[in-house]
Symmetry: none
Subunit: 191 residues, 2 copies
Amino acid sequence: MSRESASKIERLRCLAMYLDSDPFLTDEDLAQIFNVSVQTIRLDRAVLKIPEHRQRLKNVAMGMGAPLRTLSGGEIVGELLDLDVGRNGTSILDVTPEMTLSKIRVLRGHHLFAQANSLAVAVINAEAALTGIARVSFKQPVYCGEKVLAKAVIKSNKGNKYMVKVVSYVKGEVVFQAKFIVFAIAEEVPQ
Amino acid sequence: MSRESASKIERLRCLAMYLDSDPFLTDEDLAQIFNVSVQTIRLDRAVLKIPEHRQRLKNVAMGMGAPLRTLSGGEIVGELLDLDVGRNGTSILDVTPEMTLSKIRVLRGHHLFAQANSLAVAVINAEAALTGIARVSFKQPVYCGEKVLAKAVIKSNKGNKYMVKVVSYVKGEVVFQAKFIVFAIAEEVPQ
DNA sequence: TATTAATTAGTACCAGGTGCTAAAAATAGT
DNA sequence: ACTATTTTTAGCACCTGGTACTAATTAATA
C-alpha cells in the first residue's frame, strides 16, 4: 500500500466539505454518513485539524465561520453527491427563495457559478486551488424550488494547471455550462 | 416573607439581561458574577426558562451564522458606491475571513464573480435582468482584509440585450475582469 | 508472508450541563 | 422565642460530545 489509500483521502476531503457546509454535524452523525466508526472520524478530524463540535458551534456563533482548516477547499456550494478526486464529481443545489431575484423567482447567476466553481476546485487533487479563467454560459433560467445537478470533469492537466468542464442540469435540461482553468497551488494531498 | 424575595427577583432580572447580552456565559461564570452557587443559577435559569449553554450557542449560531451558508441573500454583493443607471456603476467589497480559502487566505473566486455580476445587473435599467454569457478572468489573487473596487460600464445595448464590462481592482491593480451579456427581462424602471 | 497502513475498540477523563433528593440557612409571622 | 416558609446549597447519578491514550484487529501490498 502506498503512503495513504485513495479511499481515506477521499473521505478526508468529503469530511472537510461536509463540516464546512454544516458545522452542526457531530462525529456520531459523520460516522453514520461515511459508514465508519466514530474513532475513525475523530482521527480524520485530527489530521484535518478540524476542532470539535462545541468549538465549531462557538466559532459559528461568534461569526467567524471558519477557523483553521487545513485540507478543506472551503465550503462547497451545493451538496456533494459523488467525488472521484482527480477525475470528476457531482453536486446538487436546492434553489431556495433567498437565492432568487425577488420579482421573478429566478436563480441568481452567481449561485450557479459558485456551485460549478466550488465543484471544479473540489475535483482537483490539491490542498487548495484557484480559478484562473472561466468561460461561462447561462443556458436556461432556473426557478425557485428546482434542483440543480452539476457535473464536473477534468478535461486536461498539465502540471498544476487543470481544465475542468462543468455542466449543470435541471430535470435533464442543460441550464449552465462552464469551462474553468484551475491552478493547484499546493502539493497533492497526502494527508 | 412574601412569596418571593426582592433580592431574588432582582437577580433574576439581572441574570436575564446578562445572558441576553452574552449568551456565552456558563452557569459557573454567572455563579461568580452574582456570588451565589451554581445550583442557584440553575434554578434561576429554570424559572426564567433560559436554555443551557450549549443550546444558547446553537441558537446564536443558527440565528446569525447560518448553517448552510452560500452567498449573500441581498440583491447586490458588495456595497454600492455609485450608480448611474443605464451607464455605469461602482461597488466595493470587503474581504472577510469567511470568504477566503482557509489555508491561504485567498478570496474565493465566486465572490469576485458575484460582486461583478450583481453590479452588472444593477446598472441595467430594468426591474430584473439575467446573465446570459460571461467571460471571466481572474488576474491576481485577492487576500483577506483587502477591499475590492468593481467598476461596471455598459458597452452596448440592443433591445433587451446589454454588454457590460466589469473590472475589479485592489489598490489600483486589476484583479478581475469580466464581460457579461445580460438580458433585461422586465420593463424599464422609471428612475 | 511479513510489513505497513488503516480502522476499530476500550479505557479514563473532561465540561457543562439535567434531574432528583435532602439538608442548611435566611426571613418572616405570630 | 418558636414556627413556618422561602431560598439557597450540597450531593449524587446520569447525559452528550467530546480528548487523549493504548491496544487489538483488519486490510492491502510489496
